[in-house]
Assembly symmetry: C2
Homo-oligomer: 194 residues x 2
Amino acid sequence: MSQDSSFYFPAPRAQRFCSQCGTPLTQIIPPEDNRLRDACGRCGAIHYQNPRNVVGVLPIWQDKVLLCRRAIEPRYNTWTLPAGFMELGETTAQGAMRETQEEAGAQIALGKLYTVIDVPHAEQVHFYYLARVLSPALYPGPESLDAAFFALPDIPWDNLAFRTVATTLQHYLRDKPSGIFPVHHYDIPAPRPE
Amino acid sequence: MSQDSSFYFPAPRAQRFCSQCGTPLTQIIPPEDNRLRDACGRCGAIHYQNPRNVVGVLPIWQDKVLLCRRAIEPRYNTWTLPAGFMELGETTAQGAMRETQEEAGAQIALGKLYTVIDVPHAEQVHFYYLARVLSPALYPGPESLDAAFFALPDIPWDNLAFRTVATTLQHYLRDKPSGIFPVHHYDIPAPRPE
């Protein structure tokens, strides 16, 4: 089997068949639960779904911030901090370092957890760590069109990928004069309809 | 269909059939990915899996902490802070309040995010908020055998449900004299084999 990349797609939230026995699912409120779940009337498996974590880094090299230009949807061709979905078996810190390697090919020393951002309409929680870049050599991976360092006054505010990226950078600019970088925890509200 | 509660079980991580088309799954490394995923050779759906968040509260009433005695596995009959899996569409704060209502029936005013704990061997991240209990009336739900207030010297350290509960309580005891409660972020290492 050697399908090309256009054949594959991430399974969406909507589930139609039981992952355990292949039977079509029904929606029920299970005993002692209080909301509808996808359940299998044949084998009894309940298919809970939960929010996902996005883990990333705010990497600094000589007062410049490392950003990646996205080679994938959503937000193709916009600039982002290196970040991606947390994987099984890793910590948020390990995931953030892995994403920095995969998207920018950058060598970093990870710093402290900096922003924790609830994004309920996207069913996500985002975590950004501070990091120090150890070498200016960058090797952007297949998910990035480019990776580059931006002096803080040159951050492309009008072309950033996500509000969690923009707000994390804003917190950094605000905290930098004091040199104190506490954990910032906040929510991103759902976008208003146009 | 009215199955009793013993019929149902949470679907485990191991997936055998495609949730989109019911076809048996195979494991492949998808194009431009770098690890094995459960994928469908018929429709192309890739079934990623990700860690889950557990959200809870450290609720205080007149210098006493509210704990619940678990009526469910794992750790049946041990004491826990009110907490549970984060649901789709809610923030970590909303989930923490919901779990407090479901497990203890307690009225609370939610405070700040207090601990963020990576538990990679359990494929989880735990979040605990500080909270002030508004009334001593408790109405434990079906997942709790009991809910009760403990003076801090009386915390049942030998019978707590999880290390994230114990360490969150330990941080609280340590921070209380100063009245300063910063966000604590740390990892829980895998338990050592006996």
